[in-house]
Amino acid sequence: MNRFVALATGGGEAAGLAPPTPAAGVAVTLLAGILVFLAALAAALGLSAARVAGEWSGPEAAAATLFVMASDEAAVEAQARAALDVLRTAPGVLSVRLIELDEQRALLAPWLGSEVALDGLPLPLLIEVEADRDALDRTALEARLAAGAPGAVFDDHAAWRAPLVAASRRMGLASVAILGALAAALAAALALAAGASVAANGAAVATLRLVGARDRLIGAAFARPLLLRAAAGAALGGVAAIVLLLLMPARGAGDTLGLGMRPSGWEWVAILLVPPAGLAIAWAAGALAVRRALRRWS
C-alpha cells in the first residue's frame, strides 16, 4: 500500500516539499469522506434496484395464476377440470399445481391479519402455472380457456410487475446519475484545492524550480498531501457506508418484494471498489489541476 501511495504521489522525494495547508487538508478529508459515503450508498441503491428489476423481469416472472370463479362448488370443480385440461395441453405451459384452500388462507393471513375470519371468505380456486414465456401463446390460451372454462381468468402478473420493474430500472439509472454527480463534485473539489495550493505558494514553486525540480515532482509535492487527506476521508466514508449497509435489512425469505438493500456476494466487492475509485478520481483531478497551475506559472 505504501509503495502504491509512493508511486501514485510521486515517491518519497515529493513528501514534505509543499508548504503545509492544514485548513484545506481538513476540508478535503471531510469532503472526500462525505462524497465517498454518499457514493457507496448510491452504488448499493443502484445494485439493489438492478437486482429487484432482474428478479421481477427474470425467470420468476414466468409464474402465472389461474383464478376459477363460479356460482357453486360443482361448477367450480367442473371449470377447474376443464381449465387443467386446457393448461396441460397448452404449448409453453411447463407445470400446473392446484393451490389448496388452506394454502390460500395461509398466504392471505399476513395481509389480512388474525382478526378476519378467513374460513368465511369466498375464495376462488387457484391454479399455479409455470410457463415458458417465449413459447406461451397467451391469446390462444385465453381463447381456449374462454371456450372450456368461462369462469377462469389467466393472470401472468404483468400488470403489477411492469411498473415495478420500470420503477426499479429508473432508480438504477438515478443512482448511476448520482454516482456521476458525486464523482464530478469530488474531482472539482480536489482540482480547486490543488490549484489554490499552487497559486498560494508561488514562492515555494519558484524555489523548487530554482534548484532544478521538474514539474512532475513539484506537481506531486502539491498533490500528495491532498491525496493522502482524500484517502483518509475516502476510507472513513467507505467504512461508515459499509456499517450503515450492514444495518440494512438483508434479502431473505421474508422479503417477498426483493427490497432488502444490504448487498450480498459480489455486490460487496462493487461497494468496496467505491473508495479506491473515488481516490483515483481525486488523484487524477488533483494532478491535472496542479499541472495546469504550474503551466500558468511558467
Partner: protein, 229 residues
C-alpha cells in the same frame, strides 16, 4: 560553457538587453557590473533560463534549450548553481533541509550524507544553525545558506546576484572568499554586483574580469583590477 549570441530582452516596451554576444569560459570568474537597472539580474536570469531571450540564442555547453522544454530547463538548473539576490527558501523546512533540497530534487536522497551536509554548512559557517528555520536567519546567513545550496550538487557554474547586498563588511569578505575558493576548484563563477570593493577584494587573488553593462549592451570587458578602479 554559457554563450550569448545577439541576445536581446525587453520588459514590455522597455528594452533591457540588446544584441549581447559573449561567452563565459569554463573555470572563469567574472563580475557583471553596471548601474542599478542596467540589466545585471536579467542577464543572470537568462543564464539559467529563468527568463527566455526575446531575440538571439543562449547556448549551454554548446546547445540551446527551449524554455518550453520544462524538463530540459530543470536539468540545466541542476548543472548551474544560483544564489539569487533574494534567496528563496521553503519556509517550513530547516536550514539543513533547505540546503539539501537539490539532492532530494535530483533524486539522490539525503540518507547517509549527514556528515557531508554538516561539512558543507561548516564551510559557510552555518553548522550551528542547521536546525534553524529560514525566518530565523539574518540576511548574511541566508546568502551563505543559498551559496551552500547552490554548490551542493557540485555544479559546473555558479551564478550569484548581489551576494553581499545583505551582508556586513566581514561577511561580504567571507562570501567573496568562498566564491574565489569555488573558482579555484575549477568552477565557473559569475557575480553580478555594483560594489567595486568586491572586485577589489578579488583582484590579485585569482584571474577575474569585469563585464560592464551599459545601455543594454556589454560596453566593456576588463580585468578586475581595472574594473575596481
Amino acid at each position: 560553457m554559457i554563450e550569448f549570441e545577439q541576445v536581446g530582452f525587453s520588459y514590455g516596451a522597455r528594452t533591457v538587453l540588446s544584441d549581447v554576444t559573449l561567452a563565459l569560459e569554463p573555470g572563469s570568474l567574472s563580475f557583471l557590473a553596471g548601474r542599478s537597472g542596467a540589466g545585471k539580474t536579467t542577464f543572470l536570469r537568462l543564464c539559467h533560463l529563468d527568463l527566455a531571450p526575446d531575440r538571439g540564442v543562449v547556448r549551454f555547453w554548446g546547445r540551446s534549450i527551449s524554455p518550453r522544454d520544462r524538463d530540459g530547463v530543470a536539468d540545466l538548473r541542476k548543472a548551474i548553481g544560483v544564489v539569487p539576490q533574494d534567496p528563496g527558501f521553503l519556509e517550513h523546512l530547516t536550514l539543513l533541509e533547505n540546503v539539501a533540497l537539490p539532492l532530494r530534487v535530483a533524486g539522490l536522497g539525503v540518507a547517509g550524507r549527514s556528515e557531508d551536509l554538516r561539512a558543507l554548512l561548516d564551510w559557510v559557517d552555518l553548522a550551528d544553525r542547521a536546525d534553524a528555520f529560514p525566518a530565523e536567519l539574518s540576511g548574511g546567513e541566508r546568502q551563505r545558506a543559498a551559496l551552500a545550496r547552490a554548490v551542493i550538487l557540485s555544479p559546473e557554474a555558479i551564478l550569484a546576484d548581489e551576494p553581499t547586498g545583505a551582508a556586513d563588511r566581514d561577511m561580504a569578505a567571507r562570501l567573496i572568499g568562498l566564491l574565489v575558493e569555488l573558482n579555484r576548484m575549477g568552477k565557473t563563477v559569475l557575480v553580478a554586483t555594483h560594489d567595486p570593493d568586491l572586485m577589489r577584494a578579488v583582484a590579485g587573488r585569482v584571474e577575474a574580469r569585469v563585464l560592464r553593462l551599459e545601455g543594454g549592451r556589454v560596453a566593456a570587458i576588463e580585468p578586475a583590477e581595472a574594473g575596481a578602479a
